[in-house]
Each structure stands twice: as C-alpha cells, then as structure tokens.
C-alpha cells in the first residue's frame, strides 16, 4: 500500500475510535443536538413575527441560516475533542506508534462529519415540523447539504489548528464562542443583512457564513429572487433591495473558494503544529 493509503487507513482507525466514544457517551451528543432544535424554535416563534422577507416566509428562509450557524459551531466540537486528546496520556501512545502523523487530526475531522450529518438531519426534521420545505430538485437540495458539510469540514481544520496551539478544552470552548458568535450573527443567517448599518453590511456581505447560507437558501429554493423583489416594489410594496455583492450573487462559487482556501492553509498548518508539539 502507498503511504497515502496507509495515512487514510490510520485516519479511519482513529475516526472509528472517536465514533465509539460518541456511542459510549450518548448524553454528550444529545445535549449538543438539542441546541439547534432550540434555535429553530426560538427564532421561528420569537423573532419570526418581527422579521419580513420579501416574497418568502421567514420560517423557510431562516432554516438554512440555522444550518450554517450549527455546522460552524460544530467545529468547536472538533477543537474540544482534539484538545482533550492532547491533554491525555493517549496522545503519547499515538506518538510512539509508527502511524501517520496526520491521522489524529484526519480521523477527528472525519468523525465530526458524521456528527454534522446527524445534527443536520435533526435540524431538517425540526424544520419540516415547523413548516420548512425544499422547493427545488433532489440534486439541488443534495448539493445544498453537501456544501454545508464541506464548509463545516473546512472550519473543523481551523479549530484543529487552534487545538494544536492551545490544547485546553475550556479555553477552546470559550474562545471559539467569542469568535463564532459574532461571525454567525453578523451575517444573513438570522436577519437580512440588507437592514444592517453600512459597515456591518459590508462585513456581512463578504462573511463566508452569509455566502454558505445564501447558497443553501438558493439550492433549497428558500431565497427571494431579485425579480420577485422588483415585482413587489413595482406594485408599491415597501421592501428592501437585495444586496448585489458578488459573494451573494455567486454564493456557491464564493463559498467553494473559502473552503479550498481554508483547507489549503490549515491542513498543512495543523499537521505541522501536531508534529511540532510532539517533539518539544
């Protein structure tokens, strides 16, 4: 077998071990899955009445935003899991084995895809219960889900790098909250960014959380179109004009650029940081 095949096999062995852990401590998973359900219900019923989206119900519009927020927050799980491993004796065992140096991180980011699939499934079911529907074809919807998963996978690698640099579960949990919270709120995930004050609006337009949300909305058929907004305005309804930033008019391409960019930078950085932390 080639070295790359072995690296994949090592990563698989580690991923399998992480998944066994989820199976043994199901309480953890249950609590983590509860939060997206809570978010769906809170936003739909608390803010739902106050926010108008031209031509689309807020409930349907919101769900993709919750998806994006949840998968970004899910990367914290990757960071915390790795930090926990780094703090424990098991990491010395891994380091003393002739396994691939990337396996610990590759395995963790891979097992967290499974976790993200689970959480997106739970959220989709909750969404369907409160009235969310997909209005496009199966391939388009599948592309929407895949893009969300790819985005979360890329974010996991950022958190993997952070965990290598700061191997402490508490610090990771608190620090990532401080970064991810504004990142997901200054976006179009919950509220249309067209209503933001100008500087925030520019940030939100180019924020990849906005583009992945926009891409998912487009692919699920939950987004207002420029034509429908123009029609509404022509008939005298007072609605905001949609942002025409390139990132939002080409959200799939812009999101893919981010995904590739993050992976190109953070995969080698994380693996190097792991290797380095191993011999200090």
């Amino acid at each position: 077998m080639s070295e790359l095949t072995w690296a994949a096999a090592d990563g698989y062995a580690v991923a399998r071990r992480n998944l066994i852990k989820i199976k043994r401590v199901p309480e953890l998973l249950i609590w983590i899955l509860m939060s997206p359900i809570m978010f769906v219900l809170l936003f739909v019923y608390v803010f739902g009445g106050a926010i108008d989206i031209p031509g689309v119900s807020y409930r349907e519009w919101l769900i993709a935003g919750i998806f994006a927020q949840t998968v970004v927050f899910g990367s914290t799980f990757t960071g915390a899991g790795l930090a926990e491993d780094m703090e424990k004796g098991i990491i010395d065992r891994f380091r003393s084995l002739p396994m691939s140096r990337s396996a610990v991180i590759v395995g963790r980011t891979a097992s967290d895809i499974v976790y993200n699939v689970l959480s997106i499934t739970i959220m989709s079911l909750t969404g369907l219960l409160v009235g969310w529907r997909i209005h496009t074809s199966v391939p388009e919807a599948a592309a929407g889900f895949l893009l969300l998963l790819a985005f979360s996978y890329a974010f996991s690698w950022i958190m993997a790098w952070v965990a290598m640099k700061i191997p402490s579960v508490e610090v990771i949990n608190n620090a990532s909250f401080m970064v991810i919270m504004p990142l997901t709120f200054i976006s179009n995930a919950f509220v249309p960014l067209e209503t933001f004050p100008a500087p925030l609006q520019v940030f939100a337009e180019w924020n990849p959380v906005s583009s992945v949300t926009q891409a998912a909305r487009d692919l699920f058929g939950n987004a207002p179109t420029a034509e429908s907004v123009a029609q509404l305005q022509a008939s005298g309804v007072d609605v905001f004009t949609l942002s025409d930033a390139w990132s939002l008019t080409h959200p799939v391409a812009y999101t893919l650029l981010w995904i590739v960019g993050i992976l190109v930078v953070f995969v080698p950085l994380s693996v190097r940081a792991y290797r380095h932390s191993a011999t200090k």
Binding site: A13, R17, R24, G89, I90, I91, D92, R93, P98, T279
Partner: protein
C-alpha cells in the same frame, strides 16, 4: 553483546531548567536497565527522548540499531512504550484499545484482532475485555497499557514508572508480569523511584539526579557502595540516644544517622540479622528500652543520602520541575 539502546551526552533544557545534563546510557540486547531517581531527576525526559517523543538539545541516540533522530518512524516500529499514567482510552473497551493499537501498527484488521485477544488472555483481562476501560481498576489499566506496548512484539520495551501509584498487591502482580517478559529475552529500560523494584527487575541500575548519572552498576555493586541492610532503632526516651548511638556505631559500615524528633537511629550494616541480634543484646545489657527495632533494605532515599549527602525529600532537590507538567498521582485505584 551489541548495545540495543545507546545514548550519548543527552542534554535537554526546558527554558532555564536543565532536565538532562549529559546523560549516557547503554543497554546490551536482552538486558534490563533501571533508571533510578526521585521525581524531577530527568527519568521521564530520558524515556521520551529514547522513544522519539522528544528531541534532545544535544546528544545522540540509537535504539535497536536505528538513529532515533534521523529515522524516528523506523524506531517506532521496533519499540513498545508504557507510560507512568496509563495511555489507554477510557471510553473504549480493553479489546477495542488493543485492536486500535494493532491497526495503527498496520498489522491488518484480522491480525490486530487476533493479537488483541492473545494479549487480553495473557494479561488476565479476558473477563473485562468488552467493558469500557473507565470501569477498570488501576492495576488493570496498567496491565492493559503494558499489553498495548507489546502489541507489535517489540524488540525493545520502555516502561516509565510502571508501578507508581499502584497498591502493593497490583505492584507485585506487575512485577511478575515484567519478569516473565524479561525472561523471554526482551530488552527493557524501566524507570523507577523504588530501589526494591530496580533490585528485583534490573541487571543494571543507573542512579540519576539532576539529569546526570551519579552511580551505575549491578544492584549488588550499588548495595555494596551504599551499604547493605539498615538497622533502625527507636529509643523510648531521648536521653538514651547517645548510648544507643555508641552501641550501634560499633557495627555500622558508615556513620549512624540520628533523627532526634523521632528518636530514631539508622545505620547501614553488612551482617544483617547477626548484627541486629548483637546490637539488641548490647542494648539490653545496658538496660535500655527500645520502642522499635528492625532491619530494612536500603531505599532510594538511603542511596541518595550516601551518594549525594542529601535526602530525596530535601527541598533543594526539588528545584527542577517534574519531567512533565502533569499531576503525578493521576491514576487512582478505583
């Protein structure tokens, strides 16, 4: 015989602290070397360097004929390591832990499983094989950890304080297991804080302090150097101490040490029980009452007192941090 472990001039600094200060080690094939020293002496640092987990600032290391710094991957294929706190996954069962290690040694799925079963059998863990490790006792965890080190049948084995934190029963079980391994011809380097452990398991002992070797030789030679057994007497009243001191010093190899607070007098002797009997009859003839008397084997503390003139509990020996920033007594027996 060819040296299977050879380290020359190992130096390792952590900031201002010198963990290793020019340590040399050599272990011939099939032999057992014990690194004996107190907390913070540099034992764990040495093991971490030998097992590719740490790069030294200076020095060269060769394990199983491979240069550790040039080809760590090749070294990892040939060694097994069991650390001072069990490096096993709490949430996995014993079987899953060993199976995982086998896969990561790239033995293939079938062979990994087979090997896991063999080792569980050998280490008396068959009944607990499918239980999560967090339900294991301290001794069981250590046995599983040692089994993990043996998955790939390594030619060289490193055990870092294999019995620290274990209760006496688990400790003697562990010794038995290690002795069996050694009889099978494995080359072993182990670190310990217990003179008794080094004496029992090792062909050769290196006493280490402040990152350098301060004595080396067989257990017997070391004992000769530091004296054999100790007579320990406790006077019932403090005023008798000078007389007891005088009587005891007639048989002592070295000088008699007095702990005024505990009214305890200690001296190394060569004659063992014969000396003890003589001292006791001398004391009785003078009509002096003792509250306790006994013969004991030299401890690490005795070795240290003799070699360095200070005790391992002496605060001046504690200016080096422990080798690793983790709590020492991590493993509690559940």
């Amino acid at each position: 015989m060819q040296d299977v472990i050879r380290a020359t001039g190992l130096v390792k600094h952590y900031g201002d602290v010198t963990a290793l200060d020019g340590l040399d080690l050599s272990v011939p094939g099939g032999q057992v070397l014990a690194l004996l020293g107190p907390n913070g002496a540099g034992k764990t640092t040495a093991v971490r360097i030998l097992t590719t987990l740490l790069e030294p600032d200076e020095g060269s290391v060769e394990v199983a004929g491979v240069d550790v710094l040039a080809d760590p991957r090749e070294v990892r294929r040939r060694i097994g390591l069991s650390g001072q706190y069990a490096a096993v996954d709490e949430h996995l069962s014993g079987f899953e832990n060993l199976d995982l290690i086998g896969r990561l040694y790239r033995m293939g799925r079938h062979r990994a499983r087979e090997r896991a079963r063999e080792l569980l059998e050998r280490f008396d863990l068959v009944e607990a094989a499918d239980r999560p490790v967090k339900t294991y006792s301290g001794g069981m965890r250590r046995r599983l950890d040692l089994a993990g080190a043996l998955v790939a049948t390594p030619t060289v084995l490193f055990l870092d304080e294999p019995t620290t934190g274990l209760d006496p029963r688990s400790r003697s079980d562990m010794w038995e297991v290690i002795r069996e391994l050694v009889n099978g011809g494995t080359t072993l380097l182990l670190t310990t804080q217990y003179m008794e452990e080094a004496d029992l398991l090792a062909d050769d002992i290196v006493v280490i302090d402040h990152g350098r070797a301060i004595a080396r030789g067989t257990a017997d030679r070391l004992k000769q150097q530091v004296g054999g057994e100790r007579i320990e007497l406790i006077a019932e009243v403090a005023t008798d101490i000078p007389v007891v001191h005088e009587l005891l010093s007639r048989h002592a190899v070295d000088e008699v040490r007095v702990d005024d607070h505990r009214r305890m007098l200690t001296a190394a002797v060569t004659g063992g029980t014969v000396d003890l009997r003589k001292v006791l009859s001398d004391v009785e003839n003078r009509g002096i009452a003792l509250s306790d008397a006994g013969l004991r084997r030299p401890t690490l503390d005795d070795v240290f007192l003799t070699l360095t003139g200070r005790s391992t509990a002496d605060p001046t020996t504690d200016d080096t941090p422990t080798d690793q920033p983790e709590p020492r007594q991590k493993e509690t027996v559940r």
